[in-house]
């Protein structure tokens, strides 16, 4: 009872401090100098800059969030699911009334680099400024020029669907103090230009870390765990660890495998599906070969990961026999009894990180949903997998997934029927 009262006190004090800070801080609209206006105007007419901006916006995959399904590109309206409620993505076409038509570049830069809106208000980090802050000012200007070259679409932003207390923007002040430090990417002079380009793309515009890292209960990214894999909140897929070295999620992947996956959606080590299929289709398939190579070079330099000490010697689950029968009956025709798949057609399951990732979600959901790898310019007619949600029971799917997680070279934990039940729903968007 006593300790509860003390907590209330602490909370009340905190609220006062935040309120005073909000009242006193030097926020608000940025003053515009005439020189700045001229510079903006010149940039907006530079065709080469606009073209570069289009490419950069594709790497940043801006359209993926800023476009409603079936809606006009970049006109916003898509609801981005977060564990705290839905946040609608705003219209970023140059419409003066409902888009960014009245924005100056300074204001755009402040949003991307410091995560602050036009009135200086802190933005919700579902807008990945935690990564975009690394983008250079020159690249930001190119993107700004590109967005301004789009056809303006008059479409007012949707109201936020965040639940209390997350809809109180001042709460973001504390969040940002914990998890956000503005700063443009600093090249490492000890590394090659290619490595630096890869690091810049992966850490900045590519914002890979927004998914490929575990988040804590406040939705913050844990420090020092860059690209080490994690469950994507609200989407319920697992984004694997991206280290290609010992203990890494991509252990044994060659640079070419990474390039192939990002360019075509297919690789000798596995295919892209779930949210990664979207990323490949909308963004990475359009990267230049040089940029893809740079990304691969950077990922290949991620450090080896310490393997978690097994609690007990590996032993296959009791359901192995049932799982094996189901595998032979439903999966082996395509993925092979040896789990090695068919090159360029059906992905291998043996040694496939999506099968063995810690949570088991990816394998469960792939079996439930089936579906296609992305159709890309490099691989326009992908093969497909039937969904098994209606064909197999939860116990059968659990046995089957456990079997593939524990066969051949795979040694991952068993999954339970309850987990299958949890992920049974089908995502539409």
């Amino acid at each position: 009872m006593n300790s509860l009262r003390r907590w209330w006190w602490v909370l009340a004090m905190l609220a006062v401090v935040v309120a005073v800070w909000l009242a006193l801080r030097p926020a608000g609209r940025l003053p515009a100098s005439p020189g700045q206006r001229d510079a903006d105007a010149a940039a907006l007419k530079d065709l080469a800059l606009i073209k570069r901006g289009a490419y950069l916006a594709t790497i940043g995959d801006c359209a993926a969030c800023h476009t409603a399904r079936g809606g006009q590109p970049y006109a916003g309206g898509r609801l981005l699911a977060t564990p705290f409620g839905d946040v609608p993505a705003p219209n970023i076409t140059p419409d003066p009334a409902t888009g960014i038509g009245q924005w100056r570049f300074d204001e755009f830069w402040r949003a991307l680099h410091r995560g602050e809106g036009r009135q200086g208000e802190p933005l919700y980090p579902v807008f990945s400024y935690t990564s975009f802050t690394k983008v250079t000012r020159a690249d930001a200007l190119a993107i700004f020029a590109y967005l301004n070259s789009l056809r303006p679409v008059n479409q007012p932003d949707l109201p936020s669907g965040l639940d209390f207390p997350y809809n109180v923007r001042s709460g973001l002040v504390a969040w940002r103090a914990l998890y956000f430090k503005p700063g443009v990417f600093k090249p490492d002079p000890a590394k090659t230009a290619e490595w630096n380009r890869g690091a810049y793309l992966v850490q900045g515009l590519g914002h890979c870390n927004e998914c490929h890292t575990e988040r804590d209960s406040l939705g913050g990214i844990k420090k020092d765990q860059h690209l080490s894999g994690g469950q994507i909140p609200a989407l319920d897929w697992y984004a694997p660890d991206l280290s290609t070295q010992a203990g890494g999620g991509l252990a044994g992947w060659r640079a070419q495998d990474i390039v192939d996956l990002l360019k075509t959606g297919q690789s000798a080590r596995g295919a892209a599906f779930g949210p990664m299929a979207d990323v490949v289709r909308l963004s990475t398939q359009h990267l230049t070969d040089a940029d893809l190579q740079a990304v691969a070079t950077y990922l290949q330099s991620l450090p080896p990961r310490a393997a978690a000490a097994p609690a007990a010697p590996f032993a296959r689950a009791a359901s192995a026999e049932q799982g094996g029968k189901l595998y032979a009956q439903h999966c082996a025709d395509c993925h092979g009894m040896d789990g090695n798949g068919v090159a360029a057609v059906y992905p291998p399951l043996n040694g496939n990180t999506s099968v063995t990732e810690p949570s088991g979600i990816n394998a469960i959901r792939s079996v439930l949903l089936g579906g296609f790898a992305p159709a890309t310019a490099g691989y326009p007619m992908p093969y497909s997998m039937p969904p098994f949600a209606r064909q197999l029971s939860e116990a059968e799917i659990a046995a089957l997934v456990t079997y593939i997680r524990q066969s051949w070279s795979n040694q991952a934990d068993a999954v339970q029927p309850d987990e299958v039940r949890l992920y049974r729903h089908t995502p539409a968007d």
Binding site: T264, F372, A373, M381, M385
Partner: protein
């Protein structure tokens, strides 16, 4: 597992040479029993996800919860529906998920593939309904309901109810559950199309109890042998002005 997916374009001479080598190698090879047969490079093999719900040739799933028949429907109509599932204008979560990653060009090929399939129609189960309800169903399909401005179904779907190329579907060979579900979806706007779209208007003018009647009557008809959509030129009556059809199905 060293070959990776992308098809790189090889100089033609190399391709010819390679093909020659492969042929001679194939001739020389002794049959191997343990080698898996190559995966057929066909659409049929590519679309196993679709056929697992819609039947191996798109003939439709026997249970009414499964996918409806696709075989023999007009290609433009099928493509239009796939586009609606992608845009969310037609809602059905498993369908929306399965088409999400596919390009317009690939969807067109898939639509044409199913449109080409020629499989006999099977007899469908019909719920037991009274003769009176059946008569009401027949009345609506053949004559409409002038008191509510519901046009006869056959005025758009064709005198034989087999539809027209390239966009108008037939309404025979569909299960009772599927037809009634669609009529409900138009009324609840979970199956919508552009503009003041045809079936949205028709379904909303109908009485709720008429859904049961038309669905039962239609599902009870035996489709004519060799049923195909009629060519577009066979249409004699123009569509009413308020009936706007989607366009992504026709223009390539």
């Amino acid at each position: 597992m060293t070959i990776s997916a992308p098809r790189r374009s090889l100089p033609r001479a190399v391709v010819v040479l390679l093909a020659f080598c492969l042929c001679t190698a194939a001739l020389a090879a002794t049959p191997q029993s343990d080698a898996a047969p190559p995966v057929p490079d066909t659409l049929q093999q590519r679309v196993v996800a679709c056929t697992s719900c819609h039947g191996s040739q798109g003939e439709g799933s026997p249970d009414s919860l499964g996918g409806p028949r696709l075989a023999g429907k007009p290609a433009g109509y099928l493509l239009q529906q796939l586009a609606y599932f992608q845009s969310g204008q037609r809602q059905h979560a498993p369908m929306e998920y399965v088409v999400r990653q596919l390009s317009p060009a690939y969807l067109r090929q898939i639509a044409e593939y199913f449109a080409k399939q020629d499989v006999p129609y099977r007899k469908l189960a019909v719920p037991a309904v009274s003769e009176e309800i059946m008569r009401r169903g027949e009345e609506l399909v053949l004559h409409g309901d002038p008191s509510r401005a519901v046009p006869a179904c056959d005025s758009c779907h064709g005198a034989r109810l087999t539809g027209f190329e390239p966009m108008m579907p037939g309404v025979l060979g569909l299960s009772y559950g599927y037809i009634s579900q669609q009529l409900v979806s138009w009324r609840t706007h979970t199956r919508a199309a552009e503009g003041p779209y045809c079936m949205g208007v028709v379904a909303n003018r109908m009485r709720e109890s008429d859904i049961n009647a038309v669905s039962a009557w239609l599902a009870n008809q035996t489709p004519p042998v060799g049923m195909h959509p009629q060519p577009a030129s066979a249409r004699t009556e123009p569509l009413p002005g308020w009936c706007v059809m989607g366009s992504s199905g026709v223009t390539p």
